[in-house]
């Protein structure tokens, strides 16, 4: 990364507002995300976490405010003034989106190998042998047995589906991945395995991640920084350990104190 890039964030979110009718989902959200940084967004259900994620991932339009992304020329570019073609290209090359329910992010009726390789085929890869190699490599990286490569995700367990979804998103070596509760649907031991995998991959690939979760343990494990949302407002943000160990806002204090300690 060149020197000029260091001074600019990968993603700059400014005064974002989104409401559904009278109901305000996001109220004046602003933050910067730096390259290679993992940012957790926590809060209770309905606090606007997922709305925020969808808006900054250009999946829905905000009512006001802007989101800028650092392009390859080292300049911040407003993602809402891009053409739809540019947005879509960005979201299937430099970005990834991991859904809570893996079925939303996978093609359930085509094989795991094809799921992993779809983005590459979309970018013009036309060599079957090379695609197979890539698929093998990625299934190996997310700890899925190569013998399952030609099975459909429908035959996979929840944890395998989630790992396959991660592989499908990372195959183009993105710079930024959005994750919406990636581990909430999984049982605890599977959750630990997926989280461990995510932690390894984000570190190795220097991924910047915005991860939405209601689970503070997930934030603690993965995130460098975190934001706490309540009723559409970002009420507190800071380094993860700092926020969790010394919460300032009453709502954050409530949230931290309500976690059960085993």
């Amino acid at each position: 990364m060149s020197q000029s890039d260091q001074s600019l964030p990968l993603l700059r979110v400014q005064s974002l507002v989104k409401s559904y009718g009278d109901r305000v989902a996001i109220h004046e959200a602003s933050f910067d995300l730096w390259p290679g940084e993992v940012m957790a967004v926590v809060g209770e259900s309905g606090s606007g976490k997922s709305s925020l994620l969808n808006v900054i991932a250009a999946r829905t339009q905000p009512d006001a405010g802007q989101v800028e992304y650092l392009n390859h020329n080292g300049q911040l570019e407003n993602i809402y003034t891009m053409t739809q073609a540019q947005q879509r290209l960005l979201s299937r090359t430099e970005w990834g989106f991991v859904h809570q329910n893996a079925a939303d992010g996978l093609r359930m009726d085509v094989s795991a190998g094809a799921n992993v390789c779809e983005r590459l085929m979309g970018l013009g890869e036309r060599h079957y042998g090379r695609l197979r190699q890539t698929a093998e490599h990625w299934l190996h990286r997310v700890e899925i047995d190569i013998s399952r490569m030609d099975d459909t995700p429908r035959t996979f367990s929840g944890g395998m589906r989630q790992r396959l979804q991660i592989a499908r998103n990372l195959v183009t070596q993105p710079r930024l991945v959005f994750m919406d509760e990636p581990t909430s649907g999984l049982d605890v031991s599977v959750q630990a395995r997926v989280l461990d995998l995510l932690r390894q991959l984000t570190r190795k690939m220097q991924l910047a991640v915005v991860i939405v979760t209601h689970d503070l343990a997930v934030a603690r494990l993965l995130a460098d920084r975190m934001m706490v949302m309540q009723h559409g407002r970002i009420v507190e943000s800071g380094l993860t350990d700092q926020v969790l160990d010394d919460p300032q806002h009453p709502y954050t204090q409530l949230l931290v104190s309500s976690v059960l300690q085993p």
Binding site: A114, R119, G122, Y128
Partner: protein
């Protein structure tokens, strides 16, 4: 085949009313202007069920004139029920002359085949299309497939071919094999066997496609590039048969396998009945 020039007086020429024909012609013109693009049109109810060629009939009815010579084929044959009925439909409603000879026809309506005899300039071939959207099986949302066409995001089509190779070791799609038209739009060539795909490429005739139930018309203008999709290490190939046609000895045509008795005997004959018959006639005239 003799045509009776009496059209039933209560029916407009070629069945459809003039305003409907004009509407369909506008869609056809648009389709020709954007090769491979699916143009929506107000498909009418026709006196035969969906799936029997309502789209093709409406296109034919809109482009046919009293001077046209019509040929109708179904799976290559002029004598199967779909072909016979549609041919008779236009004999009765348009009073046009009909033929089974490919080279005599000015207008050919077809289901699932392209004649073996190369088409020439001035001819129009109309295909009956059941499913116009090549990505429908993989992406059921039509709003999404339209966006994919609009932005030329066609990774999905190779997913389909990838799946074939992963499952069967080769591209097992043998009909409705997706093509790229004019280097821009992915198109379903109607359920033709892939054997016919190369014939569509740079064809001198005008190729029109009508899907009645799905209400779509698309077209390949004369001399337009039509490429079959493939992988570099799994190139596109057409079907081959180890035998020749039992009737005419052709080795270059699409062969149907016919079981001839209960003990499993079988023979291969040309699917294109006119091609086969023409060859047989030539052979007998040489012999005498």
């Amino acid at each position: 085949m003799s045509a009776s020039y009496e059209t039933a007086p209560e029916v407009n020429f070629a069945y459809l009313d003039e305003r409907t024909k004009r509407m369909i012609r506008r869609s056809i013109l648009k389709a020709i202007a954007i090769p491979g693009y699916q143009v929506p049109f107000g498909s009418r109810e026709m006196p035969l069920p969906y799936g029997w060629g309502t789209g093709g009939i409406q296109v034919t009815a809109s482009v046919i004139g009293p001077e046209d010579m019509l040929k109708v084929i179904d799976q290559g044959s002029d004598d199967t029920v779909n072909a016979v009925n549609i041919r008779r439909f236009f004999e009765r409603t348009a009073g046009v002359n009909t033929t089974t000879r490919t080279h005599e026809a000015t207008l050919i309506q077809t289901r699932h085949r392209i004649p073996e005899k190369p088409l020439v300039e001035g001819q129009i071939i109309v295909y009956q299309v059941p499913v116009p959207e090549p990505m429908q099986r993989l992406e059921p949302r039509e709003a999404e497939t339209r966006t994919l066409h609009g932005l030329a995001e066609y990774g999905l089509m190779h997913v389909k071919l990838y799946e074939d190779i992963a499952r069967y070791g080769h591209i097992a799609t043998t009909y409705d094999y997706p093509v790229m038209v004019n280097h821009r739009y992915i198109m379903s060539p109607s359920p033709n066997p892939k054997f016919d795909n190369p014939k569509m490429h740079m064809n001198p005739a005008l190729q029109l496609f009508g899907a009645g139930r799905e209400k779509r018309i698309y077209a390949v203008p004369p001399y337009t590039s039509v490429e079959s999709l493939a992988f570099e290490d799994h190139p596109f190939e057409i079907q081959k048969w180890p035998v020749a046609c039992t009737q005419c000895g052709a080795t270059d045509s699409f062969l149907d396998e016919i079981i001839t008795d209960d003990s499993g005997s079988r023979m291969h004959v040309c699917s294109d009945s006119d091609y086969c018959q023409t060859r047989q006639d030539e052979q007998s005239s040489v012999a005498t």
